[in-house]
């Protein structure tokens, strides 16, 4: 009974027709065994979406399991290097790391042998479990590599190594066409999404929002700009601080909140955090927060407290923090890169910028035009409702299964 309510709850937000559409699409797939595998159960956009995608698929009658590949710290250092290398950073990955990577995949393959061998569809998320396929030469089902990262210009030596594994898959999924690498199989395109029922996105009452502001000594009477992201160079926290400093010369009451969520597979974060603290130069109006991975309601309250949300990334996979902010009626000033480009539409849902100067100008423009800011926020929320909720992503995963089973056909007619 409880599970049935989940679809109903999503129906209330996305529309009943959207849920009926999913149910009809899922009906012929009832009984299939589906496995998602990634590297963490908490922290990061992938884990967050799987927390709801998996039960939703189960409720639709598809036997879905979510497994996690875990390893020693060297495994995470190695896969973090892969992550950076896929995004274009020149990273040397020591041979010893690669051995640990392959050993961890081999151990996981052994642990999940029966499940993965017999699954109808396996989706391996990102590079961490990519090598698993090597241990299943006689696999029964279709295997798909889901790349959440912008792989358009990877560091070639690392990509060459990973390509050996991912080429074996039956298909890949990339978030955007521009992120894809040529591979000898179909490259499906599925943009990620947010979960409106996640604690990060549900409506909060004013009391709770106010309490969070008080906890972090944020003044509600003064304008607030916020960036939520891991402490990662690609997210350009230094550029955000510079934008704030430039804007503050014209808007002295301005406050900046940088809120970084932790993730168990991100060992580089601490170093960046130290540098960010130095760059803030003890400015009392800059709050640098290191929040635990499960601080969803806190992040939610911070986003709702902000006047403007920033995501000034230099490189971005998709930018789910942008989607989250838009869902909360906030205009977003985002870096002109990756998935931010398809979410932030200039003068409609926010502004795309290329420099701290550009960001500072847009901050000033929006703070001087509160009506425009409000209108943009409304448009942003509806844009997300139509395009970036989990129900849309689920529909595409279901469609993908049929597409995989009829890989050569452009039109697949189900009875």
């Amino acid at each position: 009974m409880k599970e049935k309510n989940l679809l109903d709850k999503y129906g209330e937000i996305a529309g009943r027709d959207v849920i009926e559409h999913l149910q009809q699409l899922a009906r012929p797939l009832n009984g299939l065994r589906f496995v998602h595998i990634n590297s963490t159960q908490t922290g990061g956009g992938v884990a967050e979406i799987l927390q709801k995608l998996v039960p939703l698929m189960q409720e639709l009658g598809i036997e879905t399991r979510w497994e996690v590949i875990t390893g020693e710290s060297v495994f995470y250092q190695c896969t973090k290097s892969f992550h950076n290398a896929i995004q274009g950073n020149q990273v040397d990955v020591p041979e010893s790391y690669l051995k640990v990577y392959e050993k961890t995949n081999a151990d996981t393959a052994e642990r999940l042998k029966g499940l993965l061998q017999e699954a109808d569809v396996v989706i391996a998320h990102d590079p961490q479990p990519a090598a698993l396929i090597k241990y299943f030469p006689n696999r029964r089902g279709k295997w798909v590599w889901r790349c959440h990262i912008d792989a358009s210009r990877p560091f070639r030596p690392v990509w060459k190594y990973l390509r050996e594994f991912v080429s074996e898959y039956d298909a890949s999924i990339f978030s955007l066409s521009s992120f894809a690498q040529r591979l000898p199989h179909p490259l499906y395109l599925i943009a990620p999404s947010i979960d409106p029922l996640n604690e990060k996105n549900i409506d909060l009452n004013e009391e709770e929002i106010s309490e969070v502001r008080q906890n972090f000594k944020i003044d509600p009477e003064r304008p607030i700009i916020l960036q939520v992201s891991r402490y990662d160079r690609f997210k350009d926290p230094f550029g955000v601080i510079r934008s704030y400093q430039l804007a503050k010369e014209f808007v002295p009451p301005l406050q900046l909140v940088l809120a970084g969520g932790g993730a168990s597979d991100d060992p580089e974060g601490e170093e960046v955090l130290r540098e960010v603290r130095t760059a803030a130069m003890d400015d009392p109006d800059i709050r640098i927060l290191l929040l635990p991975a499960d601080a969803h309601r806190t992040i939610n309250a911070l986003q709702r407290s902000a006047d403007i949300v920033m995501q000034k990334s230099i490189k971005e996979g998709f930018g789910l923090t942008v989607t989250e902010a838009m869902w909360k009626n906030k205009p977003v000033i985002g870096g002109d890169t990756g998935g931010i480009r398809i979410q932030v539409v200039n003068h409609h849902t926010g502004f795309l910028v290329n420099t701290p100067e550009g960001a500072a100008l847009r901050i000033r423009y929006l703070l001087h035009n509160p009506d425009i800011m409000e209108e943009m926020g409304k448009k942003a929320k509806e844009f997300v409702r139509e395009n970036f909720l989990i129900t849309r992503q689920l529909r595409e995963y279901l469609t993908l299964i049929f597409a995989l089973l009829h890989a050569k056909e452009e039109r697949i007619e189900l009875g």
Binding site: D17, V18, E20, Q24, L25, S177, N387, R411, E413, G415
Partner: protein, 223 residues
């Protein structure tokens, strides 16, 4: 079956999934060369796929080619010429493709130095697979559409009103195609449906407009 023994209108639904082709263009010449080779399904996707993927409701240009040429090559003149190509007025996607190539060639003839898009703003050719499924709903009497259309999924609207034009030999949408079986009885209704333009209208709005057409027609018919 309808009262007069005709087949019922079976309501279907569909979902699209996009696939990267790996073909990219950074300037007009490259775009033209890829267009010559690309499968018609990709042209279709770049004209109609926007209806089923994230896009702002009020895009400046209504197909991906025009939009890219305007925003990445900054050639507004050519973008405007391409934006008016309405695929529903062509016999086939092959004909649309030829029109695109010809218009681009005209522009190339006028241009001495074709501009280049930035490396991360290339035109990416995308194709698609479409999954069609039966909703098990059917309509026997055209009047029933008045109640049914507002509850149809956007996938159903896409399938019956847009995808149909590519499927049906007469290039009509499924509603008109089915109404033709009634031997002229619904000529006025068909005329009203043909007035709904699919090219400039997002799917939600299309659903509303179609609903209004059926409502208006059958209200008028009431004694």
């Amino acid at each position: 079956m309808t009262e007069s023994g005709l087949s019922s209108f079976a309501i279907k639904d569909c979902a699209l999934i996009a696939i990267a082709t790996g073909k990219k263009a950074q300037n007009l010449r490259e775009l033209r060369e890829h267009l010559r080779q690309i499968e018609p399904g990709s042209i279709y996707y770049h004209f109609w796929g926007g209806l089923l993927r994230p896009r702002f409701d009020d895009p400046e240009y209504h197909n991906d080619f025009a939009s890219w040429i305007a925003h990445s090559l900054h050639n507004k003149r050519l973008a405007e010429r391409l934006a008016v190509i309405n695929p529903s007025t062509y016999e086939s996607m092959e004909a649309v493709k030829n029109e695109l190539i010809e218009t681009i060639e005209e522009s190339l003839d006028e241009t001495e130095f074709p501009t280049w898009a930035e490396r991360d703003a290339q035109f990416e050719f995308i194709r698609y697979q479409i999954v069609v499924f039966d909703t098990k709903l059917s309509v026997n009497n055209p009047k029933n559409f008045v109640d049914i259309i507002p509850g149809l999924s956007l996938g159903s609207i896409f399938y019956h009103f847009i995808d149909a034009r590519r499927r049906n030999p007469n290039s009509l949408d499924d509603f008109q195609n089915w109404l033709l079986n009634f031997e002229g009885e619904y000529g006025v209704l068909c005329h009203m449906i043909s007035g709904v333009c699919p090219y400039f209208t997002p799917l939600k709005k299309l659903r509303e407009e179609l609903s209004e057409v059926f409502k208006a027609y059958f209200q008028k018919e009431e004694p």
